[in-house]
Amino acid sequence: MIVSIEIPVIRGGWLVQCIDSVLAQTSLNWTLSLLWDGGDALSRELLDRLAALDSRKISVHAGERLGIARARQFLSERSRGDLILPLDDDDVLEPDAVEQFVVAATMMPWAGVLRARRSFIDDAGAPVVMSDWFPFERRHYYRGATIDVANHAHPYAIRREAFLAAGGWTGFEDFLGMGEDCGCFTTMEEVSDIGLVDAVLYRYRLHGSRTSHRVTNANADEMWRRIADQAIARRNAPVSRTTQRPPFTYAATPRPVPSIDDIAVVIPFWETDQREVPYQHSRPGPAADSGIVTLRPEAQYVQVCEPPVPRFSRLSAAVSSTGPVDGELVLALFGAAGAFSPDLVVRHRVTSSVPLQFEFVNVPVVNAGDGPARVARIELAFEPALGRSAHVLVHTIRSHHGETALLRFFEDAPGHCHRGLHRCLASLAAAGIRRDAIHVIEQRASSAANRNTGIRACTAPWVLFMDDDAELSDASTLPTMFDAMVRLDADLAGPKLLNGTGRIYSGIPEVDPLLQETRVGGMGEEDIGQHDAEQLAPWLPSTVLLVHRSVLLATGGFDERFEGSQHEDADFTLRARDRGFDCCYVGSATGIHHNELRNSQFSRNSVYLAERWKDRPDLFAYPLTRAERGLRKHS
């Protein structure tokens, strides 16, 4: 990872110290870009001498008073590093700044901006002991609007992909092009997040000719107001600013009563040409009925199928592990329950660098035709790779018939998922959604990427995300969700989800405050009204998820670092809450999820989610309503 250190130069007085601090970096993974922006003669002389070095590591440009914002844009457009590290010509970097930013960028892949602390020095370079005049903490939001727009300062490194997505540096021409850094933070947080690196990596020089002296407090307040108001407009945030100086306060603006015509629908579609074979124990039940069995080379699991399962081309087995996994899941299929020799043996490599957590491992049976027409017995074993000793656990369900493995079988059925999609579209049509408001995204990409593609294709004030294997139970589902959102003053809503047999698939969403995990509530339970509540929720699944457009604009949509599917919806809704929006669960509305289980990446995504939110335990508690929050704040 290369860091592009970029310095617009107008003063030569401290430029040597500034560039020396770059030369002295502990990591050599940097390039230095300098732009002489019509500065003094000394700075020109120094840059001319550096240009004469003809180094690929140091590039020197000359401009004519572009101003700070356009100068930064000029440099960022010409540099190529993975991280952009802006540096002022009178400041210095700590020697490990590059190294620490690279480490932080690796550890926080979700962060588009990495911000660290700074200290102060005087014009002779001596330390000045003082507190920073800007906060160093996570940013705060109200319904998508940034409350503390002044919560930023040098040093920070910007990931180039976020920089490109956000559009770069813009300042205010009537303020000498300044405001570019503050504005940059607000545009960056619309496409990614701001990560904090708790280390001093920058020394800010206090001297009489600082550029910031040219800005009065009144001017600074005016710039912050403009930046905040521009952000509100860009994000379509349903608020208006009520104070004049940051941290700002905002008031909610009335939102038009939503109607079905205000909804655009985004459906990621994935055709597998496979259909699930009915099998009694294909779905997890209540926790009390579940169990686990250890699979080792010498300890197989035998599943007798009564009645026998028809020939299948894919088997999904729910497995877990206590550590990384590398080995083969061995599947022996028997046509008769009492047979000695299997009719077909299938081996499937299972590798995971993280422990598996209730992962449905898909085992393709490519030569199913060689196997029995009906499978009466299945033996499962796990053979670790050479030199490995890990084992895996297969999940089971206990019933009065005994213990059976949690397995799902799929048979070839060309066009089957299209039939599911048509079922989904039919339910939307029945709910009054126009066909031209529905965007079906059919590309072999992750669920997050597909949904983001859909978001870009629609402009309606509300977006309904639906899985292609889901459907609305009836025409009242969406109006009921709208009513609940208005009552609870929420911005995102999800209904109760049932599976194809009428049992609960996802009830009231749950969180574990200690483990900081998100879980669906009530999976496998009989639906007897225990999940019919309407309440604010800590997170929502995206199987059927209604979202106001402002949420998408303020968060940048789904995080495409989540592979396949699973957990990207939890992350999205947590980010929405981080941005000051509320999620509501509407148990009085119902959706149906047939769950074809295609590209799940449960465990890997779970680890990423946990790492992403490990510093935010506040989001893993059941949220208060806005009224309750107001009362608590008041008291």
Binding site: V16, L53, R203
Partner: protein, 312 residues
């Protein structure tokens, strides 16, 4: 406080000088409760044996810790092994601008054969050669983590290299000029508060930055030296610049040297983190500097940039 013996060691090893120096060291160690003795490692095996014998005699006399200073380009598994066999408490690797890769490889090979070493290994990164100081410190830290203490050298090591060059080129008999020796590069104050420096010529070197003229090198008898040493800090520390020097922390000796009874140490967090770490080559605004000096500073700056920016 530590007795610092610089150079190749041939001064103290010659029969005519070894006696007075040993006597001086013993007096100094006893009278001022010094922490120990630091010496450089001679190339010649017989000189090495004499040095180790000398250091062991100091240890037996309660002379505190014994330390061998090894320039980075002279670190080999054999030299480290020799120090361990010689029962030296510590080895300090003097890391200058040279690439630390070879020295690191040597220490790694030594560690492979001595997984539980009795020898404490420290790295002193040259405080006088910024531009590479942090990179070389990081290279050592990456290679060994907390396994080796990487510290900022309490003095500018470039002077050691200069002194070695002079000593090597001068041959046997020394002239007066050679005895005075090259002045160490610019260093700051608090010099004698923490370190007594004995030049290869046998002279005690005062703080060269703030008292280059006030205390000419003293070549008197050990007893006089001991008396004179006590007066140095009084004079030096009275200087306002000296008291306010931002770099004074650099010249505070590492904790492991402060006590006479500290066991050999092989690890610990790098004190670099707690110290003033960045060296400004230019203090204050460059455009306030007089023109001729400014040109010199710019030339030096361009050279530093060239060395980093044009490296392969």
């Amino acid at each position: 406080m530590l007795i610092l013996t610089l150079g190749e060691g041939d001064f103290w090893a010659t029969p005519s000088n070894a006696g007075p120096l040993a006597s001086f060291c013993a007096d100094l160690l006893r009278s001022r409760s010094l922490a120990g003795c630091l010496a450089s490692l001679p190339e010649e095996p017989a000189a090495r044996r004499r040095l180790f014998t000398f250091l062991r005699s100091l240890q037996r006399a309660g002379g505190g810790q014994t330390v061998i200073a090894l320039p980075g380009d002279r670190v080999t598994p054999d030299s480290l092994r020799a120090c361990e066999v010689g029962q030296v408490d510590h080895v300090v690797i003097l890391q200058g601008t040279d690439d630390p890769a070879d020295a690191i490889a040597s220490v790694l090979r030594f560690r492979d054969t001595h997984p539980v070493p009795q020898l404490g290994i420290h790295v002193w990164v040259d405080a006088g050669l910024p531009g590479s100081i942090h990179r070389t410190a990081a290279a050592w830290t990456r290679a060994f983590g907390a396994g080796i203490a990487v510290e900022l050298a309490p003095a500018v090591l470039a002077s050691i290299a200069d002194a070695r060059t002079t000593a090597t080129s001068s041959g046997g008999d020394r002239t007066t000029r050679e005895l005075a020796g090259p002045a160490p590069a610019s260093v700051a104050c608090e010099w004698l508060r923490s370190t007594v420096t004995i030049h290869p010529s046998g002279t005690v070197v005062p703080c060269p930055h703030h008292a280059p003229n006030g205390h000419p090198p003293i070549t008197s008898a050990p007893a006089t030296l001991v008396a004179a040493v006590a007066t140095f800090p009084q004079t030096l520390a009275s200087d306002a610049t000296c008291r306010g020097c931002a770099r004074r922390m650099r010249f505070t000796i590492p904790d492991w040297m402060k006590s006479r009874h500290v066991a050999p140490r092989t690890g610990g967090a790098s004190p670099l983190a707690a110290e003033e770490r960045f060296v400004d080559h230019v203090e204050g605004r460059l455009d306030d500097v007089e023109l001729a000096m400014r040109a010199t500073l710019i030339e030096a700056f361009i050279e530093r940039a060239r060395s980093v920016a044009t490296a392969p």
